[in-house]
C-alpha cells in the first residue's frame, strides 16, 4: 500500500513536469494563445479554519497555500527540507542560524525579511495575544517571560531571537533540540508582514502571506475561500491558477457534492462511506498515512492494572487485524509500536505484546492472579466508537473471560475531562496526532513524565532521560536512543496501541491525481487539473 501510494505521487510529479514543459513550449510558439493550465482551477473541501493568522489556527491545507514556512516536509521522505529558508543550521542544537531565501515578497509586495519572522513569532509567543499555537514556541529562550504563570508579561519579545541581517537571524533555545527544523515546518512559524499588525483582526480574515497563492476574498465563517496563484512567488509554483476551499459541516455532504460534480477533491472521505468509495470514484482515491496513533490508555493509578502482565494480557487479547478490517473498513493499519512506519524512527513490531495471541494472553492473566469484577471502557462519542469498544469488550470476554465489561461514552470534552482528572476506572480510548512525522513527537508527549499527552501517569526516569538525550542530538544521532527508549517502554506497556488511522482522499474526473503527504493531503501545488 505504502509503495503504491508513493509511486503514484512520483508518477504524478513526472507527468506534471512534462505537462508544464509542454505548456511552456506551446506558450512560446503560439503567442497570445491561452496556455493549457492558464485558467485551471479546482474546488476542495475543508474544515472551517476559524481564523487564518498562521499561529492562531489549526487549519493546514489552506494555510499551506497562503504561507510558506522556513522548512517544509519532503513528500517522499517526510524529512524537513528548506522552503522559505535557504538553510537552518546549528553546531550545538542550541543556537540555530536561519538564512532566508533572497528576493521573496509578501502578496502586498513587502519583502520577506528576518524581521517578518521575528515579528510574527514574538506575537505568537506572547500569552496575552492568546493565539492557539502559542505553545509551539515554548522551546525558544524567553518564552517563559512572555507567558508568566501570574501577572502581566514584562516584555513582548523573545530574548532568543536575534536579527543578524535582513536575511539571517538566530534562534536560541532553552535547551538543545536537534528536531528544531521539524518544528519549522509547522504553520505556526510562518512570517507575517508589517501590514498585518495594523489590523490584526482583518489579517485573520484576509491574510497577506508569502505563499504560492494569495487570498481573493476575506474569509467568513462557513463561506468558500478563493485563492489565486501568486506570480511573484519565488518557490515552486502551483499548477492550478485558482483553488477554491469550500468548508463543510458534514463530510458526507462534501462527498455527495463530489459525486454530483460540484467539488473536485474531498478530504477526508467520511469513514462510513469508505466501503462504497471504490464503486463510486473508481481509481480516484488515495490513502494518506497521517502520523497518528489510536490507543487505549491504562489507568496506572488503579492497582488492578499495576501488574504489567495484566496490561500485556489485555493487549494480547485484541485481534488488531480483524479490528482494522471489519470495524474500520480498512481505514487504518494494526499498530505494533508507538508510531506508524511512515514516521522517522518508527520500529514496526517492537511492541512484543501488540499482537494477537489468545493463549499467551490467558496465561499472563492467570500468572497475574486473574481478573475479578467489573471493567469499564471509556470512549468519546466519535461516530463508530461504540463499535470499536464493543469489539474490544467481546475479545476481553472471549479470550480472557472478563464477563462484566461496560462502557462509558461521553462527549469529546467530557471524555477528555474524565481522562485528565484520572477518574477512569478502566482502559480509555485516546487519539494522538503528532505535529511532525518523527518518533520524538510520539514518545515525548505520550510517555515521558511531563508529556502533554501523557494521560496514564506513566513515569520511567530511564525513558525520560533517553528521550531528553535523543532530543538534544542531531536527528540521525538521536535515533538509536529513541529506539532504546521505546524498547524500555514496551517492557512496561502503559498503553495499548490499537491502530494507525488512515485518511482517504477522493477526487473528481476533473483532476488527474492528488498527492497525499505526511500530514494528510500532499502539496496542493502538485494537483493537476484536466
Amino acid at each position: 500500500m505504502k509503495y503504491a501510494t508513493k509511486r503514484r505521487s512520483r508518477v504524478a510529479l513526472a507527468a506534471g513536469g512534462a505537462a508544464l514543459a509542454l505548456s511552456l513550449l506551446v506558450g512560446c510558439s503560439v503567442p497570445g494563445a491561452g496556455s493549457g493550465d492558464g485558467s485551471s482551477s479546482f474546488k476542495i473541501s475543508m474544515y472551517d479554519p476559524v481564523n487564518l493568522t498562521p499561529a492562531n489556527t489549526w487549519d493546514y491545507n489552506l494555510s499551506k497555500m497562503l504561507f510558506t514556512t522556513p522548512m517544509d516536509l519532503d513528500a517522499e521522505t517526510g524529512e524537513p527540507v528548506p522552503a522559505a529558508a535557504k538553510s537552518v543550521e546549528s553546531d550545538d542544537q542550541l543556537t540555530w542560524t536561519i538564512t532566508l531565501q533572497d528576493g521573496w515578497k509578501f502578496h502586498n509586495g513587502e519583502p520577506v525579511t528576518s524581521a517578518s519572522f521575528i515579528r510574527a513569532w514574538n506575537a505568537a509567543a506572547l500569552g496575552k495575544n492568546a493565539w492557539l499555537q502559542n505553545g509551539s514556541f515554548n522551546k525558544i529562550a524567553g518564552y517563559a517571560d512572555l507567558n508568566p504563570a501570574e501577572g502581566e508579561a514584562t516584555t513582548t519579545e523573545l530574548s532568543g531571537l536575534t536579527e543578524v541581517s535582513e536575511t539571517e537571524f538566530t534562534v536560541t533555545l532553552t535547551e538543545p533540540f536537534g528536531l528544531f527544523p521539524y518544528l519549522l515546518t509547522s504553520n505556526a512559524f510562518a512570517p507575517m508582514p508589517e501590514a498585518a499588525f495594523e489590523d490584526i483582526d482583518g489579517f485573520g480574515k484576509k491574510p497577506i502571506g508569502n505563499g504560492p497563492y494569495s487570498i481573493d476574498n476575506a474569509y467568513e465563517p462557513n463561506q468558500p475561500v478563493d485563492v489565486t496563484r501568486f506570480d511573484e512567488y519565488q518557490g515552486k509554483a502551483g499548477n492550478a491558477e485558482k483553488i477554491t476551499f469550500v468548508p463543510y459541516q458534514s463530510q458526507d455532504t462534501a462527498f455527495n457534492d463530489l459525486l454530483a460534480g460540484n467539488l473536485d477533491i474531498v478530504y477526508p472521505v467520511p469513514p462510513d462511506r469508505l466501503a462504497e468509495v471504490d464503486g463510486l470514484v473508481d481509481g480516484r482515491t488515495a490513502v494518506s498515512k497521517i502520523p497518528n496513533l489510536n490507543y487505549l490508555g491504562l489507568p496506572l493509578w488503579d492497582e488492578r492494572f499495576a501488574d504489567v502482565k495484566v496490561r500485556q494480557a489485555l493487549s494480547l487479547a485484541i485481534d488488531r487485524d480483524a479490528f482494522t478490517e471489519k470495524i474500520l473498513n480498512g481505514a487504518g493499519a494494526p499498530a505494533s509500536s508507538i508510531a506508524p512506519d511512515t514516521v522517522v524512527g518508527a520500529q514496526e513490531g517492537v511492541c512484543d505484546a501488540c499482537t494477537y495471541d489468545p493463549e499467551r494472553a490467558k496465561q499472563l492473566l492467570e500468572e497475574a492472579g486473574g481478573w475479578s469484577g467489573e471493567m469499564v471502557l471509556y470512549g468519546d462519542q466519535y461516530a463508530g466508537r461504540d463499535q470499536e469498544l464493543q469489539a474490544m469488550a467481546n475479545q476481553f470476554k472471549k479470550v480472557l473471560g472478563i464477563d462484566d465489561v461496560t462502557f462509558e461514552l461521553s462527549s469529546y470534552a467530557k471524555h477528555a475531562e474524565i481522562v485528565d482528572a484520572k477518574q477512569a476506572q478502566g482502559p480509555f480510548q485516546l487519539y494522538m496526532g503528532a505535529y511532525y512525522p518523527h518518533v520524538s513527537d510520539f514518545l515525548g508527549p505520550l510517555v515521558t513524565t511531563d508529556g502533554y499527552g501523557n494521560k496514564t501517569g506513566y513515569s520511567n526516569p530511564k525513558v525520560d532521560e533517553l528521550v531528553a538525550q535523543a532530543n538534544a542530538l542531531p536527528v540521525e544521532e538521536g535515533l538509536p536512543l529513541f529506539e532504546e527508549a521505546e524498547r524500555l517502554l514496551w517492557e512496561d506497556q502503559p498503553i495499548i496501541p490499537l491502530y494507525y488511522g488512515y485518511y482517504t482522499a477522493a477526487w473528481s474526473e476533473n483532476v488527474k491525481s492528488v498527492p497525499v503527504g505526511f500530514s494528510g493531503l500532499g502539496d496542493l501545488r502538485d494537483v493537476q487539473v484536466n
Binding site: D48, V50, N51, W58, G127, K128, A130, W131, L132, Q133, N134, G135, N138, L146, N147, P148, A149, D201, G204, E220, P221, N222, Q223, V246, Y248, Q249, S250, D252, T253, A254, N256, D257, L259, A260, G261, N262, S410, S411, Y412, A413, K414, A416, E417, Y431, G433, Y435, Y452, G453
Partner: protein, 309 residues
C-alpha cells in the same frame, strides 16, 4: 384591545428572561471546558493562553454574574464576541438572510401544499383521498427529518442531478427547494391534519347545516362558511410554525451546507462556542416571542371572546 396587548407584552418579559437564562445555563453547564476544546484534538493550548481566554470571556465568574454581564450587553444591542473573537451580531447579520429564505420557503410549502391536502381529505372523508393523506402524513411524522434530508439529497442531487447537493451558489429558489421541502415535511403533515379535522368539525356544525338547508351551493358553503372558520386554528399554528422553522433548521442547514443561523449553531455547538449558541438562540427566542405575540393579537382581533378571557 390596547389593554390586552399591554398585558400580553408584560408576559413577554418573564418568558424572555426565563428562556434566555435556561439557554445560558444549559450551554454553560455542558460537560467539558470550552476553552480546552479550542485546542483542537491536541490538548495543546499553553497555560498562559488558556488563562487569558478564560479571563477574556468571564468564564471564571459565577454563572449568575456571567448571565448578568451578558444581559447588560444584550440590552445595549451587543451580542458579544465568540471564543474566536468574531462578533456574534456580525455572524447573525450575515447568516440571517439564508435562514429567512429557507424558513419562508418551507413555510410557503406548508401553506400551499398542506392546506389544500387537508381540505381534499376533509371533503372526501372516509374515501380514498382521505386515506391517502392519512398514510402520507403518518409517514411524514414517522420518518426522521435527517433521513428525509439525506435521502432527498442523494436522490435529487447526486443521482438525478435536478438540484444542487449543497450550498447556496445556485440562488433562490433552486438551491432552497430540496432543503425547504425536507424542513417543511413535518409541519406540512401537521397543517394538513389540522385543516382536515378542523374543516370536518365545522362542516358538521349548525351554521353549515343551516346554510345548506337554505339552499346555498356546496362550493360556497365550504369556501365562505366552513373553511374561513376552520382556518383560524391553522393560521395560529402556521404563525407559530414560522418561528419554529427559523430555529428548526439546524440539521437541515448542516446537511445541505447552507450558511444560515442553524448551520452556525451546529458549528458552534461542536466547538462549544457558548457566546454564539446563546446569541443565536436568544435571537430566535425573540423572534418566536414576537411572532407569538402577533399571532395572539391577530387571534384576539379575529375572535373577540379571547380578549376577555
Amino acid at each position: 384591545m390596547a389593554g390586552y396587548i399591554f398585558k400580553r407584552l408584560l408576559q413577554v418579559i418573564p418568558v424572555f428572561l426565563g428562556t434566555t437564562f435556561l439557554i445560558f445555563v444549559v450551554v454553560y453547564a455542558l460537560p467539558g471546558d470550552p476553552i480546552a476544546a479550542l485546542g483542537g484534538g491536541k490538548q495543546h493550548l499553553s497555560p498562559s493562553v488558556y488563562n487569558e481566554l478564560r479571563q477574556r470571556y468571564n468564564l471564571d465568574d459565577p454563572l449568575l454574574v456571567q448571565y448578568g454581564k451578558y444581559m447588560l450587553n444584550l440590552f445595549q444591542g451587543n451580542f458579544g464576541t465568540d471564543f474566536q473573537g468574531h462578533e456574534v451580531s456580525a455572524i447573525i447579520a450575515r447568516n440571517w438572510p439564508t435562514s429567512i429564505m429557507l424558513g419562508a420557503t418551507a413555510w410557503a410549502m406548508q401553506v400551499i401544499v398542506g392546506i389544500p391536502l387537508g381540505v381534499w381529505a376533509a371533503l372526501n372523508r372516509g374515501r380514498f383521498p382521505d386515506h391517502l393523506v392519512g398514510i402520507v402524513t403518518t409517514l411524514a411524522f414517522a420518518v426522521p427529518v435527517f433521513v428525509v434530508a439525506y435521502v432527498s439529497q442523494i436522490v435529487f442531487g447526486v443521482q438525478l442531478k435536478w438540484f444542487p447537493v449543497a450550498g447556496v451558489s445556485a440562488g433562490w429558489p433552486v438551491a432552497f427547494i430540496v432543503p425547504a421541502a425536507a424542513l417543511a415535511i413535518m409541519g406540512l403533515a401537521a397543517t394538513a391534519r389540522l385543516t382536515r379535522s378542523s374543516l370536518i368539525e365545522n362542516l358538521q356544525s349548525d351554521y353549515v347545516r343551516t346554510a345548506i338547508a337554505k339552499g346555498m351551493p356546496r362550493r360556497r358553503v365550504v369556501t365562505n362558511h366552513a373553511l374561513r372558520n376552520s382556518l383560524i386554528p391553522v393560521v395560529t399554528f402556521l404563525g407559530i410554525e414560522f418561528g419554529a422553522l427559523m430555529g428548526g433548521a439546524i440539521i437541515i442547514e448542516g446537511i445541505f451546507n447552507l450558511p444560515g443561523l442553524g448551520n452556525q449553531i451546529f458549528l458552534a455547538i461542536g466547538q462549544q462556542n457558548g457566546p454564539t449558541v446563546v446569541g443565536i438562540s436568544t435571537l430566535l427566542v425573540i423572534v418566536f416571542l414576537v411572532v407569538n405575540l402577533l399571532v395572539d393579537v391577530l387571534y384576539a382581533y379575529l375572535d373577540p371572546r379571547i380578549r376577555h378571557a
